[in-house]
């Protein structure tokens, strides 16, 4: 059997392969084969599930973004501008909780990852398609719980749920913790699915050394998801029980310890930061090679640094607690380990810049976002070094400096990478092109608006402006107002993006199967792809970044592997050695 021989772990095998050139603008695609709302809601197709996640994430992003604009508007003046302090506290809590749990965590892995991962593996689907759909509905149920909380007293604890405030709060803490608890299972199941898929579903010829870096990143992310998320689940369960039964584990008056909650919480929530950013790294590696038409520089350095970040990321959670009163021993060790995680991140950045050297660089929109990413994320990284050093952190902890830092990392990093990914894979996902000129204007607005919003926050933070403040002293007014103005520009930028993507969906130009000339396996499928991704079993001889080799050598599939609804043009038959 050809399939058995094609085992990637096997030795040199001779395969019968054919050249399959993807047909342009196919009539039958995953979008047209099954139609109607019901076919979407009950689909087990990873592509449709990915798009449903993308839709939900976009919805929550707009909700969280609207909250952010309201918060910024309130901060135009000290004291009350238009909402009360309690409302303000609820808004920043919800902004944080929605953006972290409903947007950033699922954004790249669950939305783009679901769509792209099986295609980059040459698989028909993820390992457990039904489980995949289940994860999506678990996400929806988690969202419903959170909405119940919204309608019912809201939540005012901050997204960190610190005890004892969260055990005393009169808002609906339980609904939200249960919501996030449920949401956690969605994340766990997605991670489980991805690990099994990457291990067991690789197309013939995809060895670990030929795995696209996007998949290395998703693999590292999945490992963090399965190791960290269960601890969040138990933390939230303990917090819920603390409120229901007065368990005492986090209650100082019963001999418990509120700081222990912070350990529990950050054991998940610090690695969660890497759940958010590491998949972004994957997208950057894909886009930067495609638009420089060049082999990635330091494949193994980038691949293994993802795993290194995933591992070291588990050992640094206490840097959120330098001022909390944790022991000096712990503080010292956490500070030291925190710096170590900076190194693999730095290695990645420098490898990407080195990839540009002697490339053939085309500044299309995804590439512009990569440049924005490299600039903003570097700033986020350097300010992270600042916050990791003990003496400086004592001064900067819980000020706007921290707020600016994590927005540079999470928004300047993850969200910009997500935008790069959406623009990069948009033709593949929808079969349509978007307006390149409008897209570039959008990117410019985002870049300007973002820096205008968050650069002043660095300054007012180190001047001493604490975070989560409804009111502020007069000396910070000018910084707050600049920041608010910037956030409006940012908002306009996102609206523009939504507008031209919507236009593209409705009346966009039809996209070719490989508009960017990428060597990635996902681009050897039609745009949009077939229901089963490929109409043949792809065979991979070269790595995904072998731009020095002609395109024809990437368009291979097992001979005689039509699945019935394919319509590839057979060109010729070759004998190729795969290992």
């Amino acid at each position: 059997m050809a399939t058995a021989e094609a085992s990637p772990s096997g030795n040199m095998k001779t395969l019968q392969v054919k050249r399959y050139k993807p047909s342009e603008n196919p009539k039958k695609t995953y979008l047209t084969e099954e139609k109607g709302l019901w076919s979407w809601l009950t689909t087990v197709d990873h592509k449709k599930i990915g798009l449903m996640y993308l839709g939900s994430v976009t919805f929550f992003f707009l909700l969280g973004g609207a909250l952010a604009l309201l918060l910024r508007t309130e901060l135009l003046t000290p004291a009350k501008t238009f909402i009360e302090a309690d409302t303000y506290n609820q808004f920043f809590t919800l902004h944080g909780a929605i953006m972290v749990f409903f947007v950033l965590v699922p954004s790249i892995p669950a939305a783009l990852g679901n769509f792209i991962l099986p295609m980059q593996l040459g698989a028909k689907d993820v390992a457990f398609p039904k489980l995949n759909l289940t994860s999506f509905y678990i996400y929806v149920i988690g969202a419903v719980f959170t909405f119940i909380a919204l309608a019912n007293n809201g939540l005012d604890t901050g997204w960190t749920f610190y005890t004892p405030y969260s055990t005393d709060s009169t808002s609906s803490v339980i609904w939200v913790t249960l919501g996030v608890f449920i949401l956690g299972f969605s994340s766990i199941l997605t991670g489980t699915n991805f690990i099994a898929t990457i291990h067991k579903m690789r197309a013939p010829g995809i060895t670990w050394g030929k795995l696209p870096l996007n998949l290395w990143a998703l693999y590292a992310t999945s490992i963090i998801q399965i190791l960290a998320t269960p601890v969040l689940a138990i933390t939230l369960l303990l917090l819920t029980m603390e409120r229901v039964l007065g368990m005492g584990i986090f209650d100082a008056s019963m001999g418990g310890d509120p700081i222990l909650f912070q350990h529990f919480f950050w054991f998940y929530s610090h690695p969660a930061v890497y759940i958010m950013i590491v998949p972004g790294f994957g997208i950057i590696s894909e886009v930067i090679t495609t638009f420089s038409k060049k082999h990635i520089f330091g494949y193994w350095a980038i691949a293994l640094s993802s795993l290194a970040i995933a591992f070291i990321g588990f050992l640094v959670w206490g840097h959120h607690m330098f001022t909390s009163g944790q022991s000096g021993v712990a503080t010292t060790i956490f500070s030291f380990l925190t710096f170590l995680v900076g190194i693999p991140t730095g290695i990645k950045i420098l490898n990407w810049v080195a990839t540009l050297y002697k490339g053939s660089i085309e500044m299309k929109t995804p590439m512009i976002y990569v440049f924005i990413f490299l600039f903003l994320f570097s700033i986020g990284g350097f300010t992270g070094i600042m916050l990791g050093s003990l003496a400086a952190d004592i001064h900067l902890h819980d000020t706007y400096y921290v707020v600016a830092h994590f927005h540079y990392v999470m928004m300047g990093g993850t969200l910009i990478a997500l935008l790069a990914g959406i623009h990069y894979w948009w033709p593949k996902m929808t079969g349509k092109m978007y307006n390149e000129f409008q897209a570039k204007i959008g990117a410019a607005l985002i870049f300007i608006g973002f820096n205008m919003t968050f650069l002043p926050q660095f300054i007012m933070g180190s001047q001493g402006m604490p975070r989560r403040y409804y009111n502020y002293i007069d000396q910070f007014t000018i910084f707050h107002q600049t920041s608010t103005l910037g956030s409006y520009i940012l908002g306009v930028g996102f609206l523009l993006i939504a507008w031209y993507l919507f236009r593209s969906l409705m009346s966009g130009e039809k996209a070719p199967s490989n508009p960017w000339g990428s060597r990635g396996l996902e681009w050897q499928a039609t745009s949009p792809p077939d229901l089963h991704n490929f109409d043949h079993t792809p065979v991979v001889i070269h790595g995904p970044y072998d731009y020095h080799k002609p395109m024809e050598e990437f368009q291979l599939g097992l001979a005689n592997s039509h699945n019935g609804h394919g319509h590839a043009e057979d060109i010729d038959v070759e004998k190729v050695s795969a290992h």
Partner: protein
């Protein structure tokens, strides 16, 4: 450059605690800026120099360069070691309170601060301190977690409901500095402000004596009353004589050997714990016969008792 840092940071009013922080922040900012500029310039230079000229552009196959990888791993590693060591040094200084520090008790609650002085004076949301002398704040919270932050002194410490935490600083000149609460604590979190008011030492003495001493005398006096009223003296002597429990005389700051062989320096947290949870740590040679005073003594009472114990020197 100097003016840029003045723009970034508020004027430093406690160089003893903040000088390292400022220097370190300056160092990280400069190094980061240089590297960031290098990366950005390289990116933009490459994007222009190697822009795509035709769709058939050939690019060279450069897969990796181990020397380069090692270089740009080791140099940043050395840099972050410097940053770590520097930050650690500054932090140790923040944790090491000078021996001659003037002590003030701080109680944080939703949403305000109470500062208590040795003579019984209590002030809300204003802490008066002498210039040129280290001041130690011993802090506790009545309810949720708060955090005491003075940007001008570069100090910050969370204030906890179950144990004492402390900060210290030394303001060099008379003046005022802003105190913020930096751990989110509810509705009026952003109004939980206070001022540090620095007097010259003479003015401070005058101010302190002007303050009418609070109800029932100084904290130490109230503490003395309490230990008689609560019956502590039945088991704990105040003159060093041997009774059922260890004597209070010279207890504060004494190194005690526990029944499990460990040693503990009796500080505020230890005494408080021994009052609330007597069985937690037993001094070697004694039996656990005491009941918890939880609910019988308020946090203020316990602080008063500790103040009294401090006065009982050997």
């Amino acid at each position: 450059m100097g003016s840029l840092f003045d723009f970034m940071l508020p004027e430093l009013k406690s160089p003893m605690t903040g000088a390292t922080t400022d220097a370190l922040m300056g160092f990280i900012h400069i190094v980061s800026f240089i590297i960031l500029a290098g990366v950005t310039v390289a990116m933009i230079y490459f994007a222009i120099k190697y822009r795509r000229r035709s769709d058939d552009d050939k690019t060279p196959l450069i897969t990796h360069n181990n020397k380069l990888e090692i270089t740009w791993s080791v140099i940043p590693l050395l840099l972050v070691f410097i940053v770590f060591g520097w930050g650690y040094k500054g932090w140790l200084n923040l944790k090491s309170v000078p021996d001659n520090a003037y002590e003030i008790q701080v109680s944080a609650y939703k949403w305000g601060w109470t500062f208590s002085y040795e003579n019984g004076a209590q002030v809300g949301n204003e802490v008066h301190v002498p210039a040129g002398q280290p001041v130690k704040l011993v802090m506790r919270s009545e309810d949720v977690i708060h955090s005491f932050f003075v940007p001008d002194y570069r100090i910050k410490q969370d204030v906890l409901p179950n144990r004492y935490t402390y900060v210290w600083f030394q303001a060099e000149e008379a003046g005022e500095s802003q105190v913020f609460c930096t751990e989110y604590c509810g509705t009026s979190h952003s109004d939980m402000l206070a001022k540090v008011i620095v007097h010259t030492p003479e003015d401070f003495e005058n101010w302190l004596s002007e303050q009418s001493s609070g109800g029932g005398g100084t904290p130490a006096e109230r503490g003395e009353n309490l230990i008689t009223l609560q019956g502590c003296v039945t088991c704990h002597s105040v003159d060093g004589s041997q009774k059922i429990g260890p004597s209070f005389q010279g207890l504060y700051g004494r190194e005690e050997t526990m029944s499990d062989g460990s040693t503990i320096t009796a500080d505020e947290n230890y005494i408080r714990e021994s009052i609330l949870d007597p069985g937690a740590k037993i001094v070697e040679g004694y039996q656990n016969q005491m009941v918890s005073y939880e609910g019988r003594l308020s946090d203020d009472d316990i602080s008063d008792i500790i103040e009294y114990i401090k006065t009982l020197e050997e």
